[in-house]
Amino acid sequence: MPPCPDFTVGAGDYVCIVGPNGAGKTTLLKCMAGLLRPLSGTLVLAPGLADGGIGYVPQQGPLQRDFPASVREVVQSGCQARRGWRPFYTGLERRRAAEAMERLDIAPLAKRCYRELSGGQRQRVLLARALCGECRLLLLDEPTTGLDPEATAEFYGLLRRVNASGQAIAMVTHDRSGSLAAASCVLTLGPDASFERRTSHV
């Protein structure tokens, strides 16, 4: 089993998870999201984090790329964690969705169809969906895969803004150059496993 060093993600942290293919980056993220059970070792979540405190942005599947859903529908589905068996969204949930779209500059796209968006816009929609819950920790799995350099830079800018407003971020990434600049911690998996807390990040 690939080694994983001890690490903590505190409030407001920005953790980049790097390492070669097969080192277990996505697996680690899925464990943190509660999708997988760790085979060994322990994972301790702060109180309240387990129910609705984690916003997960998975890698995009092929199914979603031609899904007929409006942007608003996708973002609102982020409120799902706290809803039961009601046919409609509450006003509060609608407002949260609207706020999340405002925050990520996608409010004008609300009525557009998800499948007509560019890759960068789709990532923002998925990010807005994750922010729609009462999220305190964002988990992102290679969010910039397939984006052009410009869209990638914009996306990192948004993440910084989100992070600055207090949400902790843990992001799996291949793109060391762009993402590490903003990171407060770097978790490396694989042969050179390490956890490094940087003192002088921007």
Binding site: D51, G61, F67, S70, Q80, P87
Partner: protein, 277 residues
């Protein structure tokens, strides 16, 4: 013309067929939307073949109502298929193809070895393509379909957001604590029940069209999930009702007429979709 329709509608069996047929196709269309979007349309087809095999065996065993056997068998097959569909790896579709053909062959063999009537090929044809038996539906059958449609619509309304979530992004739904396994089980059971019941309407070979065509047609013009559901429902109600009426008036086979109407309407929607885009 309207007098002819009025005359036909005065017969209770025509009304029963119209109500039951329309409501059952409404159920199928609603259930078909997530199936098509999750790339599971082929499961409907596979299930219908399994149900055919089960019906043939039940007929040979002289079951009074073949549904007593075909319903549990189809539900079981649906549970297995939907579970494996989740991790659909290479070979999943090949397995399904084998299951489909195997069930068909077994059913046909049993029907020939132990014929329940003297007219085997007539029986086979009826099972595959539906029959005029929709016109023999009783008032009880009609109320059964009303109950079925009411439960499916209620389920749809109250689980709408869950359905959206599971369909759009199962991993995310799972991470936010939704009961994905429960959802898959419930939808497998409901799909199987609707399949078995609607088989009496259009027959084994045509039943998957009730699941698939409305959703695909709706996706041509609609741009949101809600619109897809609404358009698919309206599409199927219109097509099934007019298909049944045409079949009754023109004396054509009911199942094939409904499917032909569906396909024709689908082509119209595709053309319309080009203008909408």
């Amino acid at each position: 013309m309207s007098e002819t329709f009025a005359e036909y509608l005065s017969y209770p069996f025509v009304r029963n067929a119209l109500v039951a047929g329309t409501l059952i196709s409404l159920c199928a269309a609603l259930l078909g939307v997530p199936l098509v979007l999750r790339r599971l349309s082929f499961i409907g087809d596979g299930l219908s073949h399994v149900a055919f095999g089960a019906m043939a065996v039940a007929g040979a065993m002289n079951f009074a109502d073949t549904m007593a056997l075909s319903l549990p068998v189809t539900v079981g097959a649906a549970l297995v298929l939907m579970r494996s569909g989740r991790g659909a790896k290479a070979g999943g579709d090949a397995m399904l193809a084998m299951l489909s053909v195997g069930a068909m062959a077994a059913g046909y063999l049993v029907m020939n070895l132990k014929p329940s009537s003297s007219n085997v090929s007539g029986d086979v044809c009826t099972t595959l393509f539906g029959s005029v038996s929709i016109l023999t539906l009783t008032t009880f059958d009609m109320w059964l379909s009303v109950g079925l449609a009411a439960s499916v619509c209620a389920l749809w309304l109250f689980a709408y957001h869950h359905i959206f979530d599971m369909t759009f992004d199962e991993a995310y739904a799972r991470a936010s604590g939704a009961g994905v396994a429960l959802f898959n089980t419930v939808s497998a059971v409901v799909v199987a029940v609707v399949m078995v019941i609607s088989m009496r309407l259009v027959g084994t070979l045509l039943v998957s069209s009730l699941l698939v065509v409305p959703a695909v047609a709706a996706m041509r013009v609609a741009k949101s999930f809600r619109a897809v559901c609404v358009v698919a429902a309206a599409f199927t109600v219109t097509c099934s009702a007019s298909g049944i009426l045409v079949a009754v008036v023109a004396g054509t086979p009911v199942g094939a007429t409904i499917v032909a109407t569906d396909i024709a309407a689908f082509l119209v929607m595709s053309a319309a979709g080009r203008f909408v885009r």
